[in-house]
Amino acid sequence: MSYLELLKLASPEAVIVVTALAVLAIGLASTRAFALCSAVATLGLVFAIGAVLVLPQNATLFGGMLVISPLNSLFKIICIVLAVFTVLMTPSEKSLRNHGEYLAIILLATAGLMLLVGSEEFLMIFIGLELLGLSLYVMAAFDKTDLRSAEAGLKYFLFGSTASAFTLFGISFVYGMSGTTSLAAIAEKLTSASVQPLLAVGIIMTLVGFAFKIAAAPFHLWAPDAYQGAPVPSAAFIASASKVASFVVLGKIVLVGFAPVHGGAAWHAMVAGWSPVLATLAALSILVGNLVALAQTNVRRLLAYSAVAHAGYTLLGLVAGGRDGFSATLFYTTIYAVTLVGAFGVVALVRRETGGDDFSDFSGLWSRSPLLAGCMSIFILSLAGIPPLAGFFGKFYLFSAALGAGGNHGLLWLVALALFGSLISLYYYLIVLKVIFVDETAAQTSVVKVDLLSRLSLTLLALLVLLLGITPETLAARIIASLP
C-alpha cells in the first residue's frame, strides 16, 4: 500500500479539503469576494463528483477504513450534490459575515460526510462523525449577532458531544466483545454469540449517537432549536446531507456489523436484538414528531418536528432489514433530503424579504411570488406523501418493504402507526399550504424578489422531486443495483 494509491482512492476527499483551504484563503484576502468564494466552492465540489466517478469499482484499504464500493460512491455523490445546493443557498443569507470561512466549513463538513459514508470501520466512522459534528456546530452558531443562532449552536453541541460520548463508549463495548473494529469482522465474531447484557448495552449505546444525528425521538430535542435558530443554509445542511450520511452509516452498522443480532420487532414475537430498539425509536419518533408539529406556528420549527417524524418512517426500512428494507431507507432519506433542501431554500428567500419565518410571513405567498409558492407546495406535498411526488413513492416503498419483511405481516403494527402518523401530518402540511394559498396578505404586499440563481436551483429541486415521483426507477434501480 503506497501513499500514492491512498491519495488516489481518497482523491474526492482531498479535492474537497484543498478547495476548503483555497476558499478560506480567498476569504481572508478579500472580505468582499462573495461570488468568487461560492464559485470556487461549487467548482471544487463538482470536481469532487468527477473524482468519485473515476474511482475504481471496488477497493478496500486498512481493513475497511476506506472502502470504495458502488453504494459508497453513489452516496458520496448524493452528499456532494446536496452540499452544492447548500452552497448555492448561502448568498441569500444576509446575516453571514466572513463568507469564505462559512463556505470552508461547509466543505469540511462535506469531507466529514464522505469519510463517514466511505468507511466500514468503527474508528474511522467515529472520526468522520466528529469531523462532521464539529463543523456543523460551528455552522449552527455562525451568526454571531443572533442570540438564537448561538442557542442553536450550543444546544446542538451539548447534545451532540454527549451523544458522541455514548457512541464511543458503545463502540468500546462492542470492541471488547469482538476484538475488532471492522464491521465485517464484527459480524463474523458475533455469529456464535447470543445477545448478552454487555453486548446489548454496547449496541444500544452505539445506536444513541446515530439516533441523535437523525433526530429520532427521544434524542430529537436539539432539532427544533437548531432548525429554527441556525442560519438557514446550516439548518438545511444539518437536515439533509448530514441525515443522508447518517442513515447510510447506520444502515451499514446494523445490517452488516450487527447482522447476527438482528432480533425481531414483530408484534407478539419480539426477539432481543437491535431491531426492536430501532422499532421503538421509530414508533416514538412518528408519534412525538407528528403530534408536536401540530402545535407549531413557525415553518422552520414545523419542519424540525416533521423531520423527527420522517426519521421515524425512514427507520422502518432498517427495522425490516434485508436488501429491500435498506434500499427503501436509502431511497427515502435521499428524496427527503432533496425535498428539505428545497423547502429551506424557499424559507431562506422568504426570510430575507420579510425578516421572519413564522406562518404570518408566508401568508398569501402565492400572490407575492407564484414561483416560491409553487415550489414550496411541491416540497410540502412531497413531505406529506401526495402522488405523483417523490415522497409518495418513497412511503409506498418503505411501507411495502416493512410489511413484506418478517413473514406474516409481523410489522403491520409499525406500518399502521406510520400511516396513522402521516394522516396526522397531513393536517399541519395542509395548514402551511392554506397559509400560502388561501390566506390573504396583510398590508405588506411586497413582492418577494428571487434572483436568477435561486430561481434556477429551486426550480431544479422542485422538478427533481416531481421527476423522482413520476419515474422513481431512475434512483431506485441505481440504489438497488449498488447494494451488495
Binding site: 409518495f392 411501507f399 410489511l403 413484506g404 402521516s422 397531513l426
Partner: protein, 493 residues
C-alpha cells in the same frame, strides 16, 4: 384511445397554468369537451363483447424493480364511469363559466380532479390506481378552501382529512395484497387465492377505506359539510364524480380481490347502507339550507349503491353501477341549480328565505331544471334514477328481502325531502317574505340585475337532463355493457 382522456386532461391542466386569464375557461372547456368526445367515441366503437373483461389498453413497465406497471384497462364498468365523468366535467366547466377569482388556479385544480378520476376508472395496476386516487384529494382541498363559501376552511379540512383517513386504510389493504401476492396487476390479483384469515380482516379495511369516499354511514359526515362549503363546481365534481371513486374502488379492488372476505362482511355493508339511506333522508328532511338537503340526499343515494354492491348478484351490482352513473348526473344537476342558478343570484340558500321570493316566476328555467332533477332524484319512471334503483331493489330482493321493505319506506322519505325542498325553493307562498324582510336573511339588492339564465348554464343543464332522460328511457344502453363486466367478477355468488 380512451386513455387519451387522462393525457388530455393533464396536458390541459398544465397548459392552463401558463395561459393568460381570459383563456382559462376556454382551455378548460376545450379539454373537458375533448375528453367527453373521446369517451363517447370509445363508447360506441368498442364492441360489447370486448367490454365483458378488463381488457388492457396500455401496459408499459414503470418501476420494474418493484413490479409496477403503467397499466390501463377498460371494461363496461369503467367505460360507464368514464362517460359520467366526461358529462359531469363538461357541465361543471359550463356552470363555472363566470368564475372571476384566480381562474387559472381554479380550472387547474378542477382539471386535476377530473384527470385523477379518469385515471382511477381506467387503472389496472393497483399502485397506479392508488396514485390517481390520492391525487384527486388535494385539489379538492384547494377548490373548497380558496373558492368555497360557508365555513369553507373547516369544510375543506374535514373533507380532506376524511378522504385521507380512507386513503390510509386503502393503503394498508393495498400493501397487504401486494406483499402477499407479490403482484400489483389487478387482473392477476383477481385470480390470486388469498388465505381466508387474511381476507377476513383485509377486506373490511380496504372496503371501508374506499367506502369513506362513497359516503358510507357513519363516516359520511364529511359529505354534507364539504358540499355546502364547496363552490358549485366543487360540489358537482364531489357528488358527481369523487363519491363514485369510492364505490368504484370498493367494487373493483376490495370485492374483487377478497371475495371470501366480502362474503363474510356483506351483511354488515347492507345494514350500513340501509341505515345510511334512511338516516340521511330523515336528516335531509329537517335541513334549512338547500345545499345541505342535496348533500344529505347524495349520502342517501350513495346508500343505494352500497346496497347494490352488497347484494353480490349480477343484477344488484349492475344496478349499483347504473346508480353511480345516474346519481352522478342528477347530483351534478341539483347542485348546479342550488349553487349556481339560485345562490349566485339570490345570495342565500335558506329555504325559508327562498320560499318568499317566488323564484318559479323569476327563474323559470331554473325551476324547470330543478323539477326535472327532483323527479329524477325521487325515482319517477322515465328518469335514470328509477331505472337504477329498481334494478338494485330487484337484485336485493333475492338476498335481503327485509332491506327492500325498509328501503321502500326510505324512498318515501327521499320523495318527501325532495318535494319539500322543491316547493320551498321555487313554489313558496308569499307569506314568508315578511320574515325575510325582518332581517333574518339579508337579500342582495342588485340580484335582479343578473337574473336571466346564461346560455352556458342552459347548455350545461340540458346536457345533464338529456343524460338522465336518455338512460332512464333506455337503460339497456348502459346495462348491456355493465352486466357482462359484472358477471365476469368473481365476487358474485
Amino acid at each position: 384511445m380512451i386513455a387519451w382522456t387522462i393525457y388530455i386532461t393533464f396536458a390541459g391542466a398544465v397548459v392552463l397554468l401558463f395561459m393568460p386569464r381570459f383563456l382559462a375557461r376556454w382551455i378548460a372547456l376545450v379539454t373537458t369537451v375533448a375528453d367527453f368526445v373521446v369517451s363517447l367515441i370509445a363508447f360506441f366503437q368498442t364492441s360489447i363483447v370486448d367490454l365483458a373483461h378488463f381488457n388492457t389498453i396500455v401496459r408499459v413497465p414503470w418501476v420494474p424493480s418493484l413490479g409496477m406497471n403503467y397499466h390501463l384497462a377498460v371494461d363496461g364498468i369503467s367505460l360507464t364511469m368514464v362517460l359520467v365523468t366526461g358529462i359531469v366535467a363538461v357541465s361543471t366547466v359550463l356552470f363555472s363559466w363566470d368564475a372571476d377569482h384566480r381562474q387559472n388556479e381554479f380550472f387547474f385544480w378542477l382539471l386535476l380532479v377530473v384527470a385523477g378520476s379518469y385515471g382511477v376508472f381506467l387503472s389496472a395496476d393497483l399502485f397506479l390506481l392508488f396514485v390517481f386516487y390520492e391525487l384527486v384529494i388535494v385539489p379538492k382541498y384547494f377548490l373548497i378552501a380558496i373558492f368555497g363559501s360557508t365555513n369553507k376552511e373547516y369544510g375543506a379540512m374535514k373533507l380532506t382529512l376524511y378522504s385521507f383517513f380512507g386513503g390510509a386504510l386503502v393503503f394498508i389493504g393495498i400493501l397487504v395484497a401486494y406483499v402477499t401476492a407479490g403482484s400489483l396487476d389487478l387482473n392477476q390479483l383477481a385470480q390470486f387465492q388469498f388465505a381466508p384469515q387474511l381476507q377476513a380482516w383485509a377486506f373490511p379495511v380496504l372496503f371501508l377505506g374506499f367506502a369513506v369516499l362513497a359516503g358510507i354511514w357513519p363516516l359520511h359526515t364529511w359529505a354534507p359539510t364539504g358540499h355546502v362549503a364547496a363552490p358549485t363546481a366543487g360540489s358537482m365534481l364531489l357528488a358527481g364524480i369523487v363519491m363514485k371513486l369510492g364505490a368504484y374502488g370498493g367494487l373493483r379492488v376490495a370485492m374483487n380481490l377478497f371475495p371470501q372476505g366480502f362474503e363474510m362482511w356483506r351483511n354488515w355493508i347492507a345494514i350500513l347502507a340501509v341505515i345510511g339511506i334512511l338516516y340521511a333522508a330523515a336528516v335531509a328532511l329537517r335541513q334549512s339550507d338547500l345545499k345541505f338537503v342535496i348533500g344529505y340526499s347524495s349520502v342517501s343515494h350513495m346508500g343505494f349503491v352500497l346496497l347494490g354492491l352488497a347484494t353480490a348478484n349480477a343484477l344488484g351490482v349492475s344496478g349499483a353501477v347504473l346508480q353511480m352513473f345516474s346519481h352522478g348526473v342528477i347530483a351534478a344537476l341539483l347542485f348546479a341549480v342550488a349553487g349556481r342558478m339560485i345562490y349566485r343570484r339570490t345570495h342565500t340558500r335558506e329555504l325559508d328565505a327562498l320560499s318568499g321570493m317566488n323564484l318559479s316566476h323569476v327563474l323559470p328555467f331554473a325551476a324547470f331544471t330543478f323539477v326535472v332533477a327532483s323527479a329524477a332524484s325521487i325515482g319517477i319512471p322515465g328518469f335514470s334514477g328509477f331505472a337504477a334503483e329498481i334494478t338494485i331493489l330487484i337484485g336485493a330482493w333475492k338476498t335481503f328481502p327485509l332491506a327492500v321493505w325498509i328501503t321502500g319506506a326510505g324512498m318515501v322519505l327521499v320523495a318527501a325531502f325532495t318535494l319539500r325542498a322543491l316547493k320551498k325553493s321555487f313554489f313558496g307562498d308569499a307569506v314568508s317574505s315578511v320574515r325575510m324582510q325582518e332581517g333574518r336573511v339579508t337579500l342582495d339588492a342588485d340580484w335582479n340585475e343578473q337574473q336571466s339564465i346564461t346560455a352556458a348554464e342552459k347548455i350545461g343543464a340540458a346536457l345533464l337532463m338529456f343524460a338522465t332522460l336518455a338512460v332512464g328511457l333506455y337503460p339497456k344502453f348502459l346495462l348491456d355493457r355493465i352486466m357482462p363486466a359484472v358477471e365476469a367478477m368473481r365476487c358474485l355468488k
